[in-house]
């Protein structure tokens, strides 16, 4: 069960790579803050990934016959936090890698070390959760994911202008 969740989240990222390729230059001409471009892109990517998850999670629960409903709240929180974490970093990096030589290759290489930690926390916590363990056992991981999200979203907002300035 835990591995399938890892797989689904990883698959989402693959979609996300394709999502983010063009139209940056046009946006830069617009009279708005650079960081709001980043936030816009982040939200767009999040919407997309959430869409895939909305289809994927119920299907997984159905096929693997997992009782998801009793744990729905914490589970959604976990998935959301993990998704925000790696999409935030991914969006920032894709703004850089699209302009480098081997863009498609470089993004996964750069993103991997930033993606696996939140994913592995989420996967472990999901495993505990679905095994019916008390919620207090996963609070540590939820906190860690939340801190990770806050740190990297803030960081990305500040760093994004540096990646697009000419």
């Amino acid at each position: 069960m835990t591995f399938t969740f890892a797989a689904i989240l990883a698959m989402n990222r693959a979609f996300q790579l394709e999502l983010e390729n063009q139209a940056l230059d046009g946006l830069l001409l617009a009279p708005i803050e650079r960081s709001s471009i980043y936030l816009g892109k982040l939200i767009a990517n999040l919407v997309f990934v959430t869409g895939v998850e909305l289809i994927g999670v119920p299907l997984l629960a159905l096929f693997f016959n997992v009782r998801v409903l009793p744990y729905l709240g914490p589970l959604l929180a976990l998935i959301a936090l993990a998704t925000i974490g790696f999409v935030a970093v991914g969006t920032l990096f894709s703004a850089m890698t699209t302009r480098t030589r081997f863009a498609e290759l470089l993004l996964p290489v750069l993103l991997l070390p930033f993606m696996i930690p939140p994913l592995s926390w989420a996967v472990l916590a999901t495993g505990r959760l679905l095994a019916g363990r008390p919620l207090s056992e996963i609070v540590g991981w939820l906190n860690m994911l939340a801190v990770y999200d806050i740190v990297f979203v803030t960081l990305a907002v500040f760093l994004f202008p540096a990646t697009v300035n000419e």
């Binding site: 920032l92 990096f93 470089l106 290489v109 696996i116 930690p117 592995s120 540590g140």
Partner: protein, 227 residues
């Protein structure tokens, strides 16, 4: 160039002292009771690990200041520190399995700490790849700085997550709250080794820094020559 010379001397002294530390570790430091001689690698493994993580943090700090000041020296330092950090990471990832084979009975296991050290290594590789992939120097410096800062913020998470996973890896016995749980003579050897690794880090970074400075000078001269 004088800087290159200084770097070479520092490295040479560091290497000689490293041999000295090992003489001390092997002949004058007591053998650990349960692990036997395998524990000796600890004097190499832990200082290298500390410097592998510290180097990433230094890359990040240099990157932060680079983004504010746009001083090329900081960028050069960040690049040098990242390369040396990669080497130290390689030392950690090779000495670890050498110790793991007799003690755990396996070279490698997908344990939290091992895996995250591998990610630290991949982080360095990604950083160096990114530097290689951007031709324009100013853009390269900015991109590398962004990645360096993200890398620096990643290190505490990697470090802390060790405490949250069930792990085979021995818990820290020197860098921990309270007194180090290490007999005095071992601690002395370990501290000497840490000092030597610090010297080696500085020596390597100074050399790399000087080399990249020379290369930039050369490229600038080459461009002038072509024009």
């Amino acid at each position: 160039m004088r800087m290159l010379q200084v770097g070479r001397w520092l490295t040479a002294i560091g290497l000689v002292l490293l041999a000295g530390v090992y003489v001390r570790a092997l002949s004058y430091t007591p053998v650990e009771q349960t692990q036997g001689l395998a524990q000796k690698i600890f004097y190499l493994h832990v200082p290298a690990a500390i410097w592998a993580e510290t180097a990433m943090i230094l890359v990040g700090l240099a990157s932060v200041f680079y983004l504010f000041t746009k001083d090329p020296r900081l960028d050069r330092f960040a690049a040098a520190s990242a390369e040396v950090g990669t080497i130290f990471c390689v030392i950690v990832l090779t000495t670890g399995p050498i110790w793991g084979k007799p003690i755990w009975g396996t070279w490698w296991t997908w344990d939290a700490r091992l895996t995250f050290t591998l990610f630290l290594f991949l982080l360095y590789v990604g950083y160096l790849l990114l530097r290689g992939a951007v031709p324009d120097p100013a853009m390269r410096a900015r991109y590398a700085a962004v990645l360096g800062i993200c890398g620096m913020c990643e290190v505490p998470f990697i470090h802390l997550s060790v405490y949250m996973f069930p792990t085979l890896h021995p818990m820290p016995i020197v860098l921990q709250p309270g007194r180090p749980k290490l007999p005095g003579s071992m601690l002395t050897t370990w501290l000497l080794s840490l000092g030597v690794f610090t010297l080696l880090y500085v020596g390597f970074v100074v050399q790399r820094y000087a080399l990249s400075y020379l290369r930039e000078q050369l490229e600038a001269a080459g461009e002038v020559g072509h024009a």
